[in-house]
Symmetry: C2
Subunit: 386 residues, 2 copies
Amino acid sequence: MGEAENGGRDTDSVGLVTPRRIRIERPLTLDCGRSLPQHELIVETYGTLNAARSNAVLVCHALSGDHHAAGYNSEHDRKPGWWDSCIGPGKPIDTRRFYVVSLNNLGGCKGSTGPNTVNPATGKPYGPDFPLLTVRDWVRSQAMLADALGIDCWAAVIGGSLGGMQVMQWAIDLPERLRHALIIASAPKLSAQNIAFNEIARQAILSDPNFHGGRFYDHDVLPKHGLKLARMLGHITYLSDEAMRAKFGRMQRVNQFSFNFDVEFEVESYLRYQGQSFVDRFDANTYLLMTKALDYFDPAREFGDKLSDAFARASARFLVVAFTSDWRFSPQRSREIVQALIRAGRDVSYALIESNLGHDDFLMPIPQYHKVLRNYLDRVAREAGA
Amino acid sequence: MGEAENGGRDTDSVGLVTPRRIRIERPLTLDCGRSLPQHELIVETYGTLNAARSNAVLVCHALSGDHHAAGYNSEHDRKPGWWDSCIGPGKPIDTRRFYVVSLNNLGGCKGSTGPNTVNPATGKPYGPDFPLLTVRDWVRSQAMLADALGIDCWAAVIGGSLGGMQVMQWAIDLPERLRHALIIASAPKLSAQNIAFNEIARQAILSDPNFHGGRFYDHDVLPKHGLKLARMLGHITYLSDEAMRAKFGRMQRVNQFSFNFDVEFEVESYLRYQGQSFVDRFDANTYLLMTKALDYFDPAREFGDKLSDAFARASARFLVVAFTSDWRFSPQRSREIVQALIRAGRDVSYALIESNLGHDDFLMPIPQYHKVLRNYLDRVAREAGA
């Protein structure tokens, strides 16, 4: 990647991007039984929608992601969007061929309607009055977004982790509205251990005295300790034990033990930093909501626990990608998806990527991984006439 | 196991046991540089010391363990000691042959000198003024206990998890004082991931407003939320993902989602119960101390990171036991111990036990496991003339 023309950024960057606010004026009925009369979604798009409107790709974000997936929001940004390694001119999701749509999900905290936005009924932030959502609710909201953008059918819906769950739900609920489903580092439902991690994260937030039952906005405080603990815990599951060993070893910052609770090992320093920096950029109510959406995801549930029966409704073609070092959503979980798709008679490709980092590898530009995406998406683009 | 004579208890139970308080009047110099002029240890013993004083076995406890390893402290106890499955007449640690000593370690919270006992200098509980300890400090204290009991050389020192670390340190530091070292479900040092879990547990406790810098005793409160989170987190690492699946599945208590933060999955209920019940029986300062002792344990450290050089000082014979489903201290970690012992020219037996539950399996009466212990300890007893 070389430095270049577009504002001193790399030539394979989408460059400067301005998020858009899209207002959905139609009521959205949610799985919890409540409904939102209208809602707003913050969106970034990269590339150009072709005349046939056949080259649109939806990118679904994971737990702490948002709409800013690629490029820069200002000349002063030091870091590009969260999946910039994968989205851009000449990159696997090639913006010279695809019109890429990336949103902050409903219930998020980066501008889309969510717990930290103003409830029109009260003039105050929703806080705990914002409904808990399911992956299916997100798909409904994203379908309204597609309508607003004039996209009848996505060339592909793509997502990693919780994003991959949205891809599965799209394929099951709205089969006619996507041609390809790319499910990366995901699982057909959480394991009891996954739920256990989420539950501890939630208890950390809920028991923080500054949480104030979710109304911390009114008290001008943040439940920093709780959210920090939740994020630290998340990070353990994003990295493999081996990656942690390679990254930190047991190296001490100083050569002697301090015999107090200051940082003594590098991994402590890393976790504290990750936790602290998260507190300043993420909303505790959104974090709770995201973990519950993860826990609730179980598309087989209404099909007598038969995932293949759920996938029998789908008509998209599938790519499923897993990473050898991912213990949060291990390759075994991806194989469950693949096996159910095969039983359902669906067209599915599966790639297991040799990796070291763990769950976070789905964000990394691993050559074999990007080659798989590139090859698959090349076919998608050709089909779309893009 | 049949009901029987000894107070309606099983015939293979050690029956009613009364803990003893042993006062060590000699100063104990600690790795942190401080020293304790005297300290007290709470001890239970099972079986009888033979005339040759050759049949004594020391049982070292793990993070949340204590002196009450076997039998019952009163007729009304509903549960026996934490390793009752293994210690008793006719059990693998056979109290008809061995004199078994089990203590609450220094720094513990079940009666031995520790953060929740009175600091003679102030007349108040030590709290945060109690020194942080190392596994080596515990071995020093346990050696003083052996002196007090008139035991020059243990027939065996036995422990699982953090207890196994004490066994290793005994073998390295005081080779002439034990004939056999039984190291179960342990590791030669923590991995970065292990330390990460401990660090989050500590931060949960330290950031609880009721912790009051460790002086919560003075405020008549407990840092319940923090200690509960720490314990919940520990439980994730004690169970395998598979065991959690088998034990809880994703079974809900009710059939419909509640869309709030009440318990919706069985694993949430389990963790909350485990966390809550721990808060009422364990001290937060001791929990912190135990996790730091785990982090600090690294016997190879002063031997240029060569574990075999550390073990070259040992003269005991070793049994190392690991469990296939243990991901906290995986079999790989036990193999590291075994390989270092072999390089050091030590006599070592290794058993890998097929298991399902995870780290907690070291407390379970798995037939293959108990057979290995029984056969090994039979040899130990015969050598001891017991």
